[in-house]
Every structure is written in structure tokens, then in C-alpha cells.
Amino acid sequence: MRPHYASSIASIPPPKQQQYFEGNRKGEVNELKILVKNTLSEKDDKKKREVVKKVIAYMTLGIDVSKIFPEMCMASYTNDMVQKKMIYLYLTTYAEQNKDLAFMAISTFQKDCKHSDPKIRGFALRNLCSLRFSGAIEYLMPAIRESLSDIDPYVRKTAIMGCVKVYYMQPEFLSNIEEQLYKMISDNDPLVIINAIHALNEILAAEGGMALSKKLVDYLLGRLKEFNEWGQATILDELSKYQPKDDKEMFNIMNLLEERLKHSCSAIVLAVIKVFMNFTKNKPQVYEQVITRVKAPLVTLASISEGNLEIMYTILCHIKFIASKGYNQVFSQDYKCFYCRVDEPTYIKLIKLEILALIACDFNLGDMLNELGEYVTDVDQEISKKSIQALGAIALRLPDLANAIVKQLSSFITLQDYITNEVIIVFKDILRKDPKHIKDCLEIIQSDSVTDQNSKIALIYILGQFGSQIPLAPYILQTFIGVAESVELKHALLTSCLKVFFCRAPEMQEILGQLFYSIMNNENEDIDLKDRAAFYYRALQNNPNEIKKLWQNGIKVDKFLEEQNINKEALLFEFNSLSVIYEKSVNKFIKPAEYFNNLRNKELQDQIQEQQQSTTAEKPDPVQDGFDIEHDITVPNVPIVQNQPNLLEISEQPKQKLIIDNFVLDYRIEVEYFESMWTSLNNGASITRTLARNDIANENAMEQLFNRYRLYNIAAGEEDNVLQMYFYGAHKCQVFFEFEINRNLSTVLLNTKSELEDYAYLAQKYVEDFLKQSNLIV
């Protein structure tokens, strides 16, 4: 017999398809909870799938559906794999927030871990291990240990990952696992081996990861081709930590790996290159041969990569890295491969421009200047600016060829303002290094299209430094005086005006006077600037010649500090790592796990707080069930009522116990009434206990038992060894129960609802007590 009302409740129309992602309101979660609860007893797997799917859709959207945890736990007893997979996904996601309820789910996971089908064993184990709460460990470890020696590799590889998961929860449970993991490296299945390597690296991270012996290296290299791309890349990455004991071994390994450079998977190619580089890093000649050898595969990957732009970008970053380490001439021949193409995104073009700047040399410069010149007029301003910077960088690096570049840059002045702005900045750097180019820059310097703040400062610097050679210098400087500009610019202006004054005093005297006046008589002027101006003013009054002498001992720049720093730091970057991409050393962008744990905990707390706030603002939430049961399970002998935590804002709760006389004798209601009440009430209590006695766990016995305690049965049904019954009763208010005995799992489940939540708790306790007395539960 099926519950005669359950099916009618479940006939709430199923969610319309395609609506999973619409609606975003939290109130819907309550509706969803009811929907799930009601659909549980449904026979139709298709309908159930739809409901579970809806829950996952909400979860994906980031809506917190953790309230439905108890219902989803119950739903996990299904044999339908489609549902099971979804439900397990849900359970593993929310187990962390529902630690105590998660116990309910464990038994299903455990059962599935013993299934005859290895696919299901592996699947269940993977999910069991993903339940992220410490209490699960004791159930986990036996399952993992058993599965590590499972006959099927799918289960074994899952078990290894399980070890890593346990390591992050409670590492002490993993005593001596390393030995077993090392043994598993000789497994037949490649994936088992790779997972064992990953596991060892994580578990032994403090000691620098897995230990590599020559024997192990030979063994892994011998089997290299059995592994998929990712496995190979992992092994090669391990290998890069290894140091061959002599040249013979080194060359043997390198010869063996050379053909892997022909692979289309960039992960493998880069990993091989890293091995080569690390092996030969103390042998400059061989190292250079290595760089020459790996050029072609790198260029190929950088120009094709199956149209995978993201990979192209990564490869280009690595090429730039190699070129910037002093091997730029290796790529000089292939300069055309680094020309920008119309269909490439900006990030690729930018890195290509940086590479071009690095690999420019006497024989390719002619072509390259034309090409870079074209980019200057690109519609994308970023590209335009970068190409000007590239030209500047080449001029700095190749002083012999700088003249041509300066001339070319000067020809851009008639174009857009942003071009002039950028050119001025580049000129400043070129002139700092080699002042002789000033004669080619005159035209652009005296044009009036400099608009950007930094460019103005660069211009002011140039005017000051080369004041004697620029006819209009004093008058251009004059235009900046008294104009609302940044303090930084005014500092530069002060310096430059003084410099020009020393070489062109007659023209500058009045202008300098204007400047002093505008700074010192401005009430709102920066105090530091004012002081500086006053200082110069008085010094000039005192002894202008002495100041001039001091000032004119200029500094000659041979090398730019910025350049040196970058290169030095770059030597420490690890090839094939994010350092190469970001151009930062690893400690600048990697933080330890604790840092993120704190972030996460904070996030979790915020969430709980938010929930509690909304709980107190609205009505009590079923999430509270969790707290209740927590105390119930861990300290089963202490009565709940006394131990009720105050967290729940229901501290007013009467500290009383219900006795049989509180209940109305022979209270009767209609089925329809029960249905409507059960659906409309969404606050209640729920517990799960282990079934202790089988002989009375049947419909008749239960009905009699509840009757004796003045609770009356309204529906009952049994299927697949699961007995489900609904009861009701009334004391100060009505109470409704859903009662389930699952003989498969030996569990007893009780859901209680009432219009007043406190009474639901009391009634729950009342039932629990008499169930204990009858020894049905412990």
C-alpha cells in the first residue's frame, strides 16, 4: 500500500523546463524544500530527476540551498544513477555546512563503496572522500584503505586522491601511508601511478615532495608513453627536479626525451624544455645548444597551437623569457613570426611587441622598423603606445641604430595626440642615455600637442636638460607657469626652469621670477614645493654662480637601473611556471593555505551571520535543525530541552516535557486537512536514529505504539524495505509526523511539524522518548 495522500501532494506541478536558472530569490528555497520533500516518495524517477536537477541549478547559481540537506540525504537512497550523481554532488558541496546531518548520508556512500560495479565503487568513494568535515574520517579511512587494494584501477586511483583529501582534513589519520603510495608507483595503471605521485607531492610537500631515485627515474621514463599528456607533463615536471649523476646519464635522458619536443601538447613541450634547462644549467655551451634546439618547436606552438590563443600567449611569454635572458639572437631569424596579425587579441599583440623589441638586431631592424611603424597607427591605442615603447627599447639597447629610430619616431608627430604623448616619454629615456639625438627630436619637442600628465613631465625634463639647444625652451616652459597642474609637474618645472636659467639667464630671468611668484604666493600650494622654491630663490639672491656650479655636475647614465633589476630577478624565475607569465618571483603571488582558509572561514561566518539575521528578522529557519541535532548526537544521554543552545533565539522555550495526558485523546482530522497542513508548514524538527529492534518495526506494531501515546496514523506504505507512516496528534496545538523505518540502512527517521516550532521540538522529544522506551531506537 502506498500512502494514499502522498501521491496527491506530489502532484504539485513539476517545475517547468528551462526555468532552472530563472528567479533568484531566497524565498524560493523554502518552496524548493517542500517540493523535494514531497517528491521523495514519488515513484516516477523522471519527476524526481527534474526536482533534484532544480536543486543543483540553484546551487550553481550560488543560492544557498543547504536547508534542503536532510531531504537530499533521504533522496540519496535511490538506485537511479542519474539522481544519485546529482545528489552526491549536492551532498559533497554542503556537507561542510551541515556536518551533523551529513552522517545521515554516510551509510549510503558506504554501501555503494561495496557495490559490485567498480564504476559505482569508485564514484561513491570519490564522493565519500569529498565530504569535508572531520567527523567523517573514521568512516573514510577504512573505506580508503580497502579501496587502495581494489581489483579495479578506477577505484584505486580514486582511493589515492582520497588520501590527499584526508591529508587536508586530518593528516594524522594517514600514518605510514607514504610507504603504500610509493609502492603504488609500480602499479599497472598509469593513472594510479600519476595520482600516487600527486599524493606524495602533497603529503610530503614540507620535505620537498616525492623523493626521486635513479631507479624510479629510469622506471618512469621507461613507461613514459603509457601516460596521457597530463601524466607525461607531471612526470617531466618531477624529472626537472632530478640531477643526473653524470653526463652520460644526462645525455641519455635528453636523447630519450628529444622526440617529445614534436608533441602538439604545449604542456609536454614546455616540461621537456624545463628538464633540459635544469640539467644543463651549469654547462653554458650545452645550455645554448638546448635553447637553439627548442626554438623551432616553441615557434611552431606560438604560431599554431590549434588556434588556441591562450596557449599561444603562454608560449610567447616563455619565448620572451628566454630572449630576455640573453638568448635573443636565437629568435632573430624568426622575427616575422612575431608580427602582429589582425585577428589576434590585444594581449597577444602586446607580448609579441615585447618580443620584437628584444630580438631586433642589425639585420632585421630595417624590416622591423617598417612593421613597428605600421603598428603606431593602429586603431588600438594600447598597441600604438606599446609599439612606440618597443621602438624606444630597441633604441636604448642598440645605441648604434638609435638614430634611425629617433628619426622614425619624429615622423609620427603629425598624428594623434596620444602618439605624441608616448613619443615624448620614449624620447626622454633615449636622451637620458644618449644626448646626441636631441637634434632629431627638436621638431616634436616644440610641437604643442603634448596633453598627458606624464608626457608633460617628460617634456619639461627634456626642456630643462637641453635648454641650450632648444630655441623655444624658455617660452614652452613659460606656458606651464600658473596653470593648474599636479605638484609633481611643478617640481619638475622648477628644476627645469633653473637649469635653463643657468644657460640662458637673460631670457629666463623674468620667466623664473614668474614661477617663483606663482608658487610662493599661492596660498594652497604644496608646502614642500613652496619650501623648495623659497630655498632656490634665496640661494640665487645670495650667490648664483655657486649654485650654477653645483648644478652643472650632471650625471651620465650608462645603464638603466630598471633593466638591470628585471633581468636579475628573471634569472630566479622557474621556467614553465606562473612566474614567467607574471614576471614576478613566486613569493609575490603565492600565499600559504592558511591565508585562504582564513578568507574562507570569514566568508562562511558572514554567511551564517547573514542567515541568522534573516532568521531573526523573518521566522525561524529549518537550518536550526542542524544545531539541535548536533547536541543530540554527540551527547545522546542529555535531554535536548535542557541543552538547547541559545543560538536559536528561542530561549523562551518552555522547559517542560510533554506527557501523554497533554495529548487529546482520539483526536481526528481529515486526510485533506493533513495534506494541506503538511504542505503549508515548513518549520519543524527532524531526527535520524539507528534502528535497534527489527521485530516491532512493522506497520501494525508502530500504529499500536503511536496510538497508545495518543498519536494517530493517517497514511502508511512500504516499499523496498522502507516503511513510511504519517501520524498526527494535538496537545496545545496540532503536531504532524512523518515517520520512516529504513531496514536497508537500519535507520529510523522522524520529521515533526507544528504551527509553533517549539511544540514541534517538544513533540519530537516526546516521540523519541517512547520509541526509546520501546527499544526501537537506542
Binding site: 614534436k262 608580427y339 587579441p345
Partner: protein
């Protein structure tokens, strides 16, 4: 390895969100999207925010993102995401927002088999296939990525825009599908002309791509041109097909390539690229552009562009779009087609200051031309403005044509057994990658 993997829509909505290691904040999708939007163009594939590493690829407009707190191997992480995208494509037929939303449960399944605790696990389509219980839900036929192709093609991965590709847009889970294999030779051309139609730079990037629906993954033998040569010696001239360099997929054994120009392939299910190659040598460009600029007066310029299709008359380019940037100071522009022009349009986009010239079909040997009359604003003279015209970028696709002459001589299916002879479809497609004429 990866801590989380999520897939976001172009607007930043989360479509898929899987947290493997629970060691990073849950708000990473928002963090990612906010950062990605700070770039003026596409975001860098790899960046970090507050020491959280983000690796992402963009496919079908969607962001496929992996996060981590470790110093990842950058290429590996992007290759993994790319592999994931290919798996999704194999199972769902195509990859776009609608399909992902409809199949999100299936995608969670794929994700869970592909990654465990963020480490790559089974990543080959045929390995995962037996573990998948959900069926793919096909999108409504009328909404399949509406067949309009973008006016100016964004870089897409060797996906033909016009050729009937419905056949390969299928799920590998489709049970009653034919036992067949599709082989495509794609070539992307990169040509740079100067104003006198002289080629400054040219190269070809090509690949042999297969989409296998073969039952039982039988080994294949693929034979290429007999005059094929890999690696170019400096200054060498040869009549044969010379590839500068090439690389191969994991499933390919290229040991016999030098000897008898054959590749042995153990094909996985679904789509994969057998071989990539690049050619830097000279080749006859399939289209030639001849721009002529005349200053009619100080405020008027006339631009004439001639296009010539320099290939066999039997070959038909399925489209050719040409884009001509004109000066920012243009007051007005009138593109004029030749009288009786058919299947041709020319439009002036006054916001972007671009002339779009679109030709629907073009047979080999034919010539087309376009005249543009420009009127400038008073602030600029024709003499300075003409510098701002161009470069002209061209975009096309030519089916059943390839420039390199790389050919598939035969594709043999070994160990065929008793089953019927599977269908083998071979196509050649040539597309423009960067086909530019400077003025």
C-alpha cells in the same frame, strides 16, 4: 592543481561551478569577472587577484575558468581547460551558452570524471563515455547558433563558417550514429601586401583535424604527399611540399613519416588535431588587392580597390569580406559598387569610420572592384588624411582548396574485422588568418 573550475556566460552569470578543494573563497567567479572586465580587450588568459591564480580560456563566448592557490604549470592548466572544452563539445555536439545551460548536469558529470581534487583524471572522451549516465539535450534546431556568421570574423579555431558542419556537431553519445570519420585539412593564410601589391610577409598555419565516430577506435594509417619534406634548409628550393615544422597529437606515431610519409593513428573518440604545421615559404596568394588613392581636391579623396581571385575557375570562395578603415575626419563616404553587381554589398559605418565590402560568392579568375568617395571635414586636408586610410583587411573562406598542396593520399582503417567499411570524409578548407594590404 585547480581548486575550482567554473564556466561563466559572456555576461558573467555562473553556468557551472565546481569546487574541488574548498581551499579558496567561494566568491572567486565574481572576482574573476570583475578583473576580466578591467582589460580593454580580452583579458589575459592567466592573471592573479589577491594571490588567487586564474587561468581561463574563452570558447563560444563562454569563460572556462580554473582557479588555484599554487604556482601552476601555465601551459598545462590552459591545455586542460581546452581539453575540457573539447570534451564538452564531443558530448554536447557544440559548445555555447544555450547548450551548456541545458546540459549542466551532464557537464558536472564530465567534470567529475575529468578532475578529482583538481587533478586531471580521465580526460579522453572514449574513457569517460562509459561512465556518463546523462543524455545530452540538443538545443532547439532553429536556435542553433543562428547561422548568421559574424561580419568580421573573430579568431576561431579552424571552424569553417560556411561549410556544412552539422555532421560533426553531434554528440559522441548518440547511439545510432553512423560509423564514420571526418578528416579536415585546414589552412590559415597570413599574407601582408604593401601598397604596390608586393608580398612583404606570408605564412601558412595548417592542421589536419579529425572528428571520429568510428566504432571501436580502430588504428588508422594516413598517407600524405610523397614529396613531403619537413624542415627547411636555408636557401633551398624544392618542388615538393616543404613544412618548416610540425607537431603531432599524442595518438600519432610519426616514426614512418620520413620513410614513407605515413602516420599511424590510434584515434580517440570525437574531435582531435592529428598534426599542426607551419610553412613560411612563398606561395601564390589566392587573392590580390590593388588599392588606388586619388586626391580629387583638398577635401575629397577617391579610393578604388580592385580584387582579383587568382585561383582555378572551378573553385569558389564561399565569401570574401573586405574592411577598409577611412580617416577619422571623414564627413561622408559613399561606397559605390560596379553596376549590376550581384551578391555584393558595401556599407559605410560612420561610427567606426569603416567601409565593409562583402562578397557572397567569388569564382576563381574573377575580378571585382569598389569605388569609395570620401568627403573630409574642414579640419583636415586630403594630403594628411590619406595616411589614415587602410590597412585593408580581408577575410575569406575557400572550400576544397589548399595552398600548400599538402594532400591526403589515403586513409586506411586497419583491423577492420567484419563490420562494414566506415565512411571517410575528407575536406580541404582555406581561410584567411591575417590577410592585409597596407596603403
Amino acid at each position: 592543481m585547480f581548486s575550482q573550475i567554473f564556466i561563466l556566460s559572456p555576461r558573467g552569470d555562473t553556468i557551472i561551478n565546481r569546487d574541488f578543494r574548498s581551499d579558496l573563497p567561494k566568491s572567486t567567479p565574481e572576482t574573476f569577472f570583475r578583473q576580466a572586465k578591467t582589460y580593454s580587450g580580452d583579458a589575459n588568459p592567466l592573471f592573479n587577484v589577491d594571490c588567487i591564480q586564474f587561468a581561463h580560456i574563452k570558447r563560444g563566448g563562454l569563460y572556462i575558468v580554473g582557479t588555484s592557490r599554487f604556482n601552476l604549470q601555465p601551459a598545462m592548466s590552459l591545455e586542460l581547460l581546452d581539453r575540457l572544452a573539447k570534451e564538452i563539445k564531443d558530448f554536447c555536439g557544440v559548445i555555447n551558452e544555450e547548450v551548456l545551460r541545458k546540459n549542466f548536469i551532464l557537464i558536472y558529470e564530465i567534470l567529475d570524471e575529468s578532475f578529482d581534487f583538481g587533478y586531471p583524471q580521465l580526460m579522453a572522451t572514449e574513457q569517460i563515455k562509459p561512465l556518463i549516465v546523462n543524455e545530452p539535450i540538443q538545443p532547439q534546431p532553429d536556435s542553433v547558433m543562428n547561422s548568421l556568421r559574424p561580419k568580421i570574423q573573430t579568431f576561431n579555431i579552424f571552424v569553417p563558417n560556411t561549410m556544412g558542419s552539422q555532421a560533426v556537431q553531434r554528440s559522441v553519445l548518440n547511439k545510432n550514429q553512423a560509423n564514420e570519420i571526418f578528416v579536415d585539412i585546414y589552412e590559415k593564410l597570413n599574407v601582408l601586401f604593401n601598397s604596390s601589391a608586393y608580398v612583404i610577409n606570408q605564412s601558412i598555419e595548417g592542421c589536419i583535424q579529425m572528428t571520429s565516430f568510428l566504432q571501436g577506435n580502430p588504428p588508422l594509417k594516413l598517407a600524405l604527399n610523397e614529396d613531403l619534406q619537413i624542415g627547411r634548409q636555408q636557401g633551398q628550393y624544392s618542388a615538393g611540399v616543404i613544412l618548416d615544422d610540425c607537431n603531432f597529437h599524442e595518438c600519432v606515431n610519426a616514426n614512418e613519416l620520413d620513410m614513407n610519409k605515413t602516420l599511424r593513428i590510434q584515434p580517440p573518440d570525437g574531435q582531435f588535431v592529428v598534426m599542426n604545421y607551419r610553412i613560411s615559404g612563398d606561395y601564390a596568394a589566392p587573392f590580390r588587392l590593388f588599392p588606388i588613392i586619388e586626391e580629387i581636391s583638398s577635401s575629397k579623396i577617391e579610393v578604388t580597390i580592385k580584387l582579383k581571385a587568382c585561383f582555378d575557375a572551378k573553385i569558389i570562395a564561399s565569401y570574401a569580406n573586405i574592411r577598409i578603415p577611412i580617416p577619422k575626419q571623414t564627413a561622408n563616404a559613399y561606397p559605390e559598387l560596379v553596376k549590376n553587381a550581384q551578391q555584393e554589398t558595401a556599407e559605410y559605418d560612420s561610427n567606426k569610420k569603416i567601409i565593409e565590402w562583402q562578397i557572397k560568392k567569388l569564382c576563381g579568375g574573377q575580378e571585382r572592384s569598389l569605388k569609395i568617395k570620401l568627403t573630409l571635414q574642414a579640419t583636415q586636408t586630403a594630403h594628411t588624411a590619406r595616411k589614415e586610410i587602410g590597412p585593408i583587411a580581408m577575410n575569406f573562406e575557400i572550400p576544397m582548396f589548399n595552398v600548400s598542396r599538402l594532400q591526403i593520399k589515403y586513409l586506411r582503417i586497419e583491423e577492420r574485422g567484419n563490420t562494414t567499411n566506415p565512411h571517410r570524409w575528407v575536406r580541404y578548407i582555406t581561410q584567411s588568418s591575417s590577410y592585409v594590404c597596407r596603403i
